[in-house]
């Protein structure tokens, strides 16, 4: 038996989708700045990228505040408990129609593998993008004087590649729920389906 629970609160959903949209937009404008293609024109790409970048930073600031005031940050505390099982599941169990070794509940939203991934995202990729992005901005347009913005640009672009790869896998992973779209629906409506046993667990 499964049951519907209110999994994602309003701010969480807003934060998630706004962040997703901003990252797509930042990747699109960013790689135009990078020189990979010409669509908007360099000038417009730079201007829009900067606006989006600082919007994302603002959003991240709110998200950090939210995570701490609500205690939601606890969901991200990494654990190795059942991590192996979780990994094995994606290589084996999933093909045999097994259930996930770690269920999902309001109390434990993230499985150990997700925790690890999202912590990596939050402590490595986001700070990398924000710090290199901000330094890049102040070198190019402000008062940070570097001989060259070279390494900042390289690491900012590296972060962008990592982020895109992350997003691809992330989007794919959403299809591993009850149905192909149940995770996405949950992140839109907030209501997720969870197994009864998981709740009592």
């Amino acid at each position: 038996m499964s049951k519907k629970v209110y999994m994602y609160k309003r701010f969480e959903r807003f934060w998630h989708w706004a962040q997703a949209a901003l990252i797509f937009f930042l990747a699109f404008t960013g790689f135009e700045v990078h020189g990979s293609y010409r669509v908007l024109g360099f000038e417009r790409a730079v201007v829009l990228h900067n606006y989006a970048g600082f919007t994302l930073i603002t959003l991240i600031a709110f998200a950090i505040f939210w995570h701490f005031t609500t205690g939601e940050w606890r969901h991200y505390i990494p654990t190795t408990d059942k991590l192996r099982e979780m990994m094995l599941y994606y290589f084996k169990g999933i093909f045999q129609g097994e259930r996930k070794p770690v269920g999902k509940s309001q109390k434990v939203k993230l499985n150990p593998l997700q925790r690890l991934t999202y912590v990596g995202y939050k402590v490595a990729i986001v700070p990398l993008m924000v710090s290199t992005g901000v330094i890049y901005y102040y070198v190019a347009h402000g008062d940070i004087h570097l001989r060259s913005v070279k390494y900042i640009a390289i690491f900012h672009a590296l972060g962008a590649f990592l982020l895109i790869a992350f997003t691809i896998i992330h989007v794919y992973m959403t299809t591993t729920g009850h149905s192909l779209t149940s995770h996405i629906k949950a992140m839109i409506t907030g209501w997720d389906e969870v197994e009864d046993e998981d709740i009592t667990e």
Binding site: H34, N50, I94, G97, A140, K150, A153, I154, A165, I168
Partner: protein
């Protein structure tokens, strides 16, 4: 008072001052007894000028317009050594060098009679005052007259043009500040013809459209040469780095436009004197530009990029300039023994039996280099390294991040010229002279021409010669256009843009780390492949489970 009112008040005060000065300087030369006589020789007129302008002679004699050199001890590689460097003793890859060719080259000297190495640079009567101060447009030096005008009406055979004996009295009554015509009579025609040499100085500047030159256009600033090239006791500001060495006496856009030209008005607040000497009789105003992200970004660009780099989109916008000159091809004649001439579809020469082969460029895209205002030159007699080709006739100093270094636009003229493979020097050939003088243009014998030219230049010559490729850099600074016609971001911020190949620190949109890019692309491709394979396997497994 509001800021605007303050501004206009100061402009008014400043204008009043300027006009007072001007009217004080204005006199009617036709009223002077000294000038109301007939002059048979130009020197007579000069001595009449000097009677009143009694310091002008000594002042002129210190200038590079007179000396064709400047003193410097900053020549790269020869720092500390006091040298005189200039047109007089540098080599180029147009008509190579002055020595032995004086009467032709010195038809653009502000003197009379520099016909060989013995010219007296201390004789004040040999100064040509009117080549700069004529306002009648009737005065012209004869092309092969060593600086003299025609002493009787003469047709110059090369272009079939009639050069009249000047009416000195008429000219003397109408002297004034130099104008586009007087400056242009030499500076537009460097290299022997309109637009040949500079690429950004040609007769289109006599009356340019706004799209050609915003400063000099009637619809733009309406300025003349001397509005920027101001003089202090006849020493005119500005120098050209095809003949100059040091980072000094330079004119700069910033003098009027400030260091933040995209967000500031033309006039520096509290510093109205900044523009004082330049706009003596004309004021050019513009609105305060809108301050926004882009204008601030552009101001930031001025730290590393010369204004000219964006505001000179093309050089030779109206008249073709020479970008290739191969002397080794010279020598072909027509069946009747005249130098062979080949012209392109517009009638501009691309081959001349006397001079060799040319390539011409119009609306050409500049080349860009870092430049800090210091230039190294090959002087007559300097050793070259024939293994390093093309030989750099002048070397532009500067690098990304270097002090005073900015990205500048250049016209680069390439070509082939003679060198002495034994002494490892560039050869100064005698080109111009009558039959029997050894001049190549009359006697057609390079060995003779080299011998005589090198002797006149005082440089040993082995008797052998060969051809070598050379390059010479000409910074561009004229033909400035307004923002509507300037470069846009994409022109440089793209993989194969205008700055492709420039060793620069990092230009976003142009530069990338190939290693990181390949890694990144593999990472993305790998993720895609991974999830696709995983998904396909899941799909198959699910199908199989259903069947079972």
């Amino acid at each position: 008072m509001s800021r605007k009112a303050c501004f206009f008040a100061s402009v008014l005060i400043f204008l009043t001052g300027a006009f007072t000065m001007l009217s004080a300087a204005s006199v009617d030369h036709s009223k002077f007894a000294e000038l109301n006589r007939n002059f048979s020789k130009p020197e007579e007129l000069t001595s009449a000028c000097l009677k009143c302008h009694n310091n002008a002679g000594t002042d002129i004699m210190k200038t590079n317009h007179w000396l064709w050199t400047r003193k410097t001890d900053k020549m790269p590689g020869k720092e500390g050594q006091m040298l005189e460097v200039g047109k007089k003793n540098i080599i180029n890859n147009f008509c190579i060098a002055v020595a032995s060719n004086e009467p032709r080259c010195t038809s653009c000297h502000i003197g009379y009679g520099w016909k060989d190495g013995n010219f007296d640079f201390t004789n004040q009567n040999k100064i040509d005052c009117i080549v700069c101060h004529d306002t009648t447009g009737t005065y012209e030096k004869f092309p092969t007259g060593a600086g003299y005008p025609a002493d009787k009406d003469t047709v110059f055979p090369e272009n079939q043009k009639l050069y009249k004996k000047p009416d000195y009295k008429f000219i003397a009554h109408n002297v004034g500040r130099p104008n586009r015509q007087t400056c242009g009579s030499c500076h537009f025609y460097g290299g022997g013809g309109n637009a040949v040499k500079h690429g950004a100085l040609d007769k289109s500047l006599l009356d340019p459209a706004k799209e050609i030159d915003i400063h000099m256009s009637k619809d733009g600033g309406g300025m003349t040469c001397v509005d920027c090239h101001v003089a202090d006791r006849h020493d005119i500001k500005g120098q050209l780095f095809s003949v100059s060495v040091e980072n000094k006496d330079r004119l700069s856009c910033e003098r009027c436009h400030t260091r933040n030209p995209h967000t500031q008005t033309l006039f520096v607040e509290n510093q109205p004197d900044r523009t004082y000497d330049i706009f003596k009789n004309r004021l050019y105003m513009r609105e305060k530009p809108e301050e926004n992200f882009t204008s601030r970004v552009l101001d930031k660009h001025t730290e590393r990029i010369a204004c000219q780099s964006c505001h000179i989109k093309f050089y030779s916008t109206k008249h073709k300039t020479k970008v290739w000159w191969d002397w080794s091809k010279a020598g072909q004649k027509t069946p009747v023994g005249k130098p062979k001439v080949v012209k392109d579809q517009d009638g501009d020469p691309i081959y001349d039996g006397k001079k060799g082969e040319f390539r011409l460029a119009k609306n050409a895209v500049p080349e860009y280099y870092w430049f800090n205002g210091t230039v190294d030159h090959i002087l007559v007699g300097d050793k070259i390294d024939p293994d390093k080709r093309p030989v750099q006739i002048n070397r532009i100093a500067g690098e990304c991040g270097g002090s005073d270094s900015k990205i500048w636009p250049f016209k680069v003229i390439r070509g082939k010229q003679m060198f002495d493979p034994e002494n490892k020097t560039l050869v100064v050939p005698k080109l111009f002279g009558p039959k029997g003088s050894g001049a190549y243009w009359s006697d057609w014998d390079w060995t003779k021409s080299a011998e005589i030219g090198m002797k006149a230049a005082g440089v040993p010559y082995s008797g052998k010669f060969d051809w070598i490729e050379t390059e010479m850099h000409w910074p561009l600074t004229h033909l400035v256009v307004s923002k509507e016609n300037a470069l846009s971001c994409n022109d440089c911020h793209s993989r194969n843009g205008r700055l492709a190949g420039l060793p620069a620190c990092w230009i976003p949109g142009r530069d990338r780390s190939l290693v990181f890019d390949i890694f990144g692309i593999l990472l993305i491709a790998g993720s895609f492949a991974g999830v696709t394979v995983h998904g396909a396997l899941r799909y198959q497994a699910a199908k199989k489970r259903k069947e079972d």
